[in-house]
């Protein structure tokens, strides 16, 4: 179980202070609310707009809040001065404005405003390409006028990248600089300022803000974008906002979705009005296979090559499930295509992989134009993008005409019965399949090749992808909800409540971690843990680490466990990569090995040229730098909560033991014991047979191990493991290791033996005294 959705709150207090500043020096036309006429020191402000009747800012000032129409807003948009800053508008602005007015949403601006003004909650449906994410928030600004009330408009996004790039785009459209009137706030980064009136942010960030400001008082309108993706944070936010709107009648809420299933949102929000804007899409013809495929990857490759050799111009998008599968497919397509080209059966083909962990520079390559024909007038060249489902919704690639859909994606699953949260290759939903097909119709009519039968589409695929809340461990969510003041978790009104056992497990885990008492109330430790945007086990480990004299090291370790894999193991150089990893290996396990890597990375010699150093040692410089950043963020939270940072002297022989003990304090529920003398381990309490992941550096003789992750594949693996002693388990987590609560078997016997040994030792030392 790794760290989840950790949205680092960028120092709340300071940003609140910033808002106060707005009111104090109120730039432009802001701050008028506080009746400057009564303040003699501000008299000069008061009449400034009146002196300059041509100032378009004046026009906005005369707007009646929640009483404007499209015509008024457009007149203000036309300039000549920027209505929000009073500055002269750039040439670029006018060019973009023209394009903006061509977007489908623009046609319905008046209709939108009317509904927005009439109701507190509005459901807005706009297909991809309708312009909803960039335009609707701006429509709102001209009517809600948040800057005149020292409020803001928030627009949430499920993904960090989207929040950043959309904010950048909208800042350009409004002719302001990013971080001023328009900003964004994502984990690790807060790019907003005192004049910010429109804030794009991840849904997780807004949720964390709610933890400190239950009514979200700094916002006058909240827009939940991409709600159809049903991320965990969006679902929790919807449940929360449903209650907030009752308490705050002045707060407006817009739910934006890209799919027509929006009636579900409507129903959930007490039949809120719905406005739908058609997207700009072309028809897509769908083809099915006549029989189920034996091997979907092979079938996909065959289909891609067939399209390339027999179809007309247009790029190909192939959906596969993960990095390894994608890289492998790219290699094979390249080989086969070269043969076709050599034989003169097809034009040039450029293949690009696309997945989340790919470095941004390489991700960017997918936007390169397709190669031209080999000879003028020859067979058309094309590009083929082999992608995970990130190309399904989050990225728009123009020029795609052919989509190949084998029908699978990697999806997170969680089952409370075996406590495993894992990414598994699973069949997609019908909705997903339609979304994928739609990708072929962005530029012109396209074709979608589904590598399954029509019967299978109808019978085997579920209607909608399960929302994340049904597929996640809810321990950290429960902690957040508790902090949000939601006490009756059983009746919290979620759109799709998870199975009761999921909540049961989460409560139990939090109770063992001492974050909740037996009544289900937040303990002191629980309150503290909720301050950290971490999985509760990690947060608890960090908080108690000073008791083990190693909070510095545990802080680094927590950061390392919160970022993507730091070790790089390229397919063509595995041996060398493993040799390099061995340089850092610690015989007691992977956690300590990671720590060794981090310490080496921070050494002066490595910092001289971190990129080169990481490259030489087969480490991901991005992941390590990110870990550095996370460490800093977490350190601030620790300092704010007066948690002491300390280390055991390195020469002390307990240096590593202390770290391992602290590890147990957080991860005592993720322990496995070796089964007999064999290779297999058995997890404590759940009694699942598991193997150590081949990547481990741990020597085999470790009888007991803590693990960070249970990976479900064809085999059960535990990944990132470190050896521990059973005495520590009994000592550090006596509640969980209450021997009477164990089923009969080897684990119980072993614990019993340990207990006897401990008691005997105690008696001995007592006897000696």
């Amino acid at each position: 179980m790794t760290v989840k959705r950790a949205d680092y709150d960028s120092d709340d207090d300071s940003s609140r202070a910033k808002r106060v500043k707005v009111e104090a020096n109120g730039n432009g036309n802001g701050g008028v609310k506080m009746e400057p006429s009564s303040n003699p020191y501000l008299a000069h402000w008061n009449d400034e707009p009146k002196k300059n009747p041509d100032n378009s800012a004046d026009r906005l000032y005369s707007f009646k809040r929640h009483g404007t129409n499209a015509k008024q807003a457009q007149a203000a948009e036309d300039g000549p001065l920027n209505p929000f800053t009073g500055k002269t508008l750039s040439k670029n602005y006018m060019g973009i404005l023209k394009k903006r007015r061509d977007l489908p949403v623009h046609q319905q601006r008046d209709e939108f405003l009317k509904l927005y003004q009439e109701s507190q909650i509005l459901v807005f449906v706009g297909e991809t390409g309708s312009g909803k994410t960039t335009q609707i928030p701006q429509f709102v600004l001209y009517d809600d006028l948040p800057h005149l009330n020292s409020k803001m408009v928030a627009c949430t996004q499920p993904r960090r990248v989207a929040a950043m790039s959309v904010a950048q785009r909208v800042a350009e459209e409004m002719d302001v600089s990013l971080g001023e009137e328009v900003g964004y706030s994502i984990r690790f980064e807060d790019k907003t300022g005192p004049s910010t009136m429109l804030k794009y942010m991840t849904d997780g960030m807004l949720l964390r803000e709610a933890m400190h400001d239950h009514d979200l008082t700094r916002y006058s309108t909240i827009i939940l974008d991409e709600a159809h993706e049903r991320t965990l944070a969006t679902d929790i936010l919807m449940g929360l906002l449903k209650e907030v709107v009752l308490r705050r009648k002045d707060l407006k809420l817009i739910i934006m979705s890209a799919t027509l299933d929006a009636t579900k949102f409507q129903k959930y929000f007490h039949d809120a009005p719905l406005l739908a804007v058609p997207g700009r899409t072309h028809p897509v013809e769908i083809f099915y296979t006549p029989a189920p495929e034996r091997d979907y990857v092979e079938a996909a490759l065959r289909t891609v090559l067939q399209i390339h050799s027999s179809e007309g111009e247009g790029d190909i998008l192939l959906f596969l499930t993960g990095e390894e599968e994608i890289e492998d497919a790219c290699r094979k397509i390249n080989l086969e295509a070269q043969e076709l080209i050599r034989d003169g059966l097809a034009g040039p083909l450029q293949v690009y992989p696309l997945y989340g962990t790919l470095p941004p520079a390489q991700q960017q390559k997918i936007f390169n134009p397709a190669p031209p024909p080999a000879t003028p007038g020859g067979r058309p060249g094309r590009k083929c993008i082999v992608s995970t489902n990130i190309a399904e919704t989050s990225l728009t690639i123009d020029g795609i005409v052919f989509v190949v859909d084998p029908g699978f994606s990697k999806q997170k699953v969680y089952n409370p019965r075996i406590r495993v949260e894992s990414l598994l290759v699973s069949p997609i939903s019908k909705a997903s399949a339609q979304q994928r097909a739609g990708r072929a119709g962005r530029t012109r009519p396209g074709k979608c090749f589904r590598l399954y039968t029509e019967v299978a589409f109808k019978k085997e695929l579920i209607e909608q992808t399960y929302p994340e809340v049904l597929r996640s461990n809810l321990a950290s969510t429960v902690l957040e909800l508790k902090k949000l003041g939601i006490d009756d978790l059983v009746h919290f009104d979620l759109m799709d409540p998870p199975a009761p056992e999921t909540l049961m497990r989460a409560l139990e885990e939090l109770n063992y971690l001492a974050c909740l008492d037996d009544e289900g109330d937040l303990t002191q430790l629980g309150k503290l843990a909720s301050e950290f945007p971490l999985d509760p086990a990690l947060a608890v480990m960090l908080i108690v680490s000073p008791e083990f004299y190693c909070s510095n090291e545990i802080l680094s370790l927590t950061a390392l466990l919160s970022v993507p894999q730091i070790f790089v193991r390229p397919a063509n150089n595995r041996k060398r990569a493993d040799e390099m990893k061995d340089l850092f290996a610690h015989p007691d396990g992977d956690h300590l090995t990671m720590l060794n890597v981090y310490h080496a990375f921070k050494s002066d010699s490595a910092q001289e040229n971190p990129k080169q150093w990481c490259h030489d040692h087969f480490l991901s410089v991005r992941a390590l730098q990110q870990a550095d950043n996370v460490r800093l963020q977490l350190k601030r939270i620790m300092e704010r909560n007066e948690l002491e940072l300390m280390s055991t002297p390195f020469e002390n022989k307990k240096y590593y033991e202390n770290i391992r003990r602290a590890l147990v304090a957080g991860f005592f529920m993720q322990v496995a014991k070796r089964d007999g003398n064999g290779k297999t381990y058995v997890t404590v309490k759940d009694e699942q047979n598991v193997l150590l992941h081949p990547s481990t550096v741990l020597a085999q003789e470790s009888e007991w191990v803590v693990y960070n992750e249970f990976v479900l594949t064809t085999k059960n693996y535990i990944r990132t493991v470190t050896g521990v002693k059973p005495e520590w388990l009994l000592d550090i987590a006596p509640n969980y290791y209450d021997i009477d609560g164990f089923k009969k078997g080897e684990i119980k016997n072993a614990l019993q033996r340990t207990m006897t040994k401990v008691l005997r030792k105690e008696a001995e030392t007592k006897g000696r005294r």
Binding site: Y452, D686, N689
Partner: protein, 300 residues
């Protein structure tokens, strides 16, 4: 070592029964056996199967209400069997976890997986049954024998009925008749035959389409026969549709206890065809003179 304060009392000390003590030889043998068991490294396949079976078993076992989380939820007003939230039809079971083991496309469900699940469910059923049935073993055996005999009697009686009925069909092959218009008493036989035929056909179709993988997509220009030959065009027959159709009457009949079904068939044979199954003879008239009675016992 923690020593007890008192001296050991030799007078009241019980001496262990020598019979229970294992001899040196026995101990060595036991130790060797135990060591062997420990040292035995299970073959990969066995290990994986065990791993998977354990996982599937855990996935089918709900958390007990002794769970601490359950107690906390109970304080919030939760009762066993409830769902969370305020919406209707909220789920009460976690989402199933399916581990994909190969690259098979959608629609080709892995057989092995299904089998493991079925085995587990069967084992559980058997366990329940063996607990519930506290019958004397011999009684159970006898019961089983009786049922077996009844099954074979039913099979043979149905076969006879079909043979005798055939004359009434006027030479028509039963496979050309709509299932529902076939005599309920032996409809199951015809159903079974049709299912077999269909299975074979499905199998062939699948094989054909695998052979005909290149090119995969339908080409309108291809002529119809060619498509049929490649298995792209389904050969649709009425029989297939017939099988799909719901047949409530038949289902009800099949659900009857075997003894009742047998009785019905035997009575039909007597009344319609003046045939006594136990005599194995068709009598010329309804009187059925010479037949000792209705039951097996009466025909010795």
């Amino acid at each position: 070592m923690a020593q007890s304060d008192e001296e050991e009392d030799y007078m009241t000390m019980t001496i262990e029964e020598p019979a229970n003590r294992e001899t040196n030889m026995q101990r060595i043998a036991r130790k060797r056996r135990e060591a062997q068991e420990r040292a035995y490294i299970k073959p990969k396949a066995e290990r994986e199967a065990e791993e998977e079976a354990a996982r599937e078993a855990s996935l089918l076992t709900p958390l007990p209400s002794t769970n601490k989380g359950f107690k906390m939820m109970a304080k919030m007003g939760f009762k066993q069997g409830d769902a969370l939230g305020k919406s209707e039809n909220a789920r009460t079971e976690p989402i199933k976890v399916n581990v994909k083991e190969d690259k098979s496309g959608i629609g080709l469900e892995s057989e092995r997986k299904r089998k493991i699940r079925e085995q587990f469910e069967k084992a559980e059923r058997d366990l329940k049954r063996s607990k519930a049935e506290d019958l004397d073993y011999r009684e159970a055996q006898r019961q089983q024998m009786r049922e077996k005999k009844m099954e074979s009697d039913l099979y043979r009686a149905q076969k006879t009925t079909e043979r005798l009925d055939e004359k009434d069909l006027g030479g028509k092959d039963p496979s050309e008749i709509r299932l529902k218009s076939i005599n309920l008493l032996w409809r199951g036989r015809e159903r079974y035959r049709r299912e077999k035929i269909r299975e074979r056909k499905d199998d062939q179709q699948l094989r054909n389409s695998i052979l005909a993988r290149q090119p995969t997509y339908e080409d309108d220009d291809e002529d119809k026969d060619y498509q049929t030959a490649l298995g792209r065009e389904e050969l649709v027959t009425t029989i297939d549709d017939d099988l799909e159709e719901e047949d409530q009457e038949f289902e009800e009949f099949e659900a009857l206890p075997i003894i009742e079904r047998l009785e019905k068939v035997l009575m039909f044979l007597r009344e319609k065809h003046h045939y006594c199954y136990w005599c194995g003879h068709q009598y010329p008239n309804a009187e059925m003179e010479g037949c000792p009675g209705l039951t097996d016992d009466e025909h010795d």
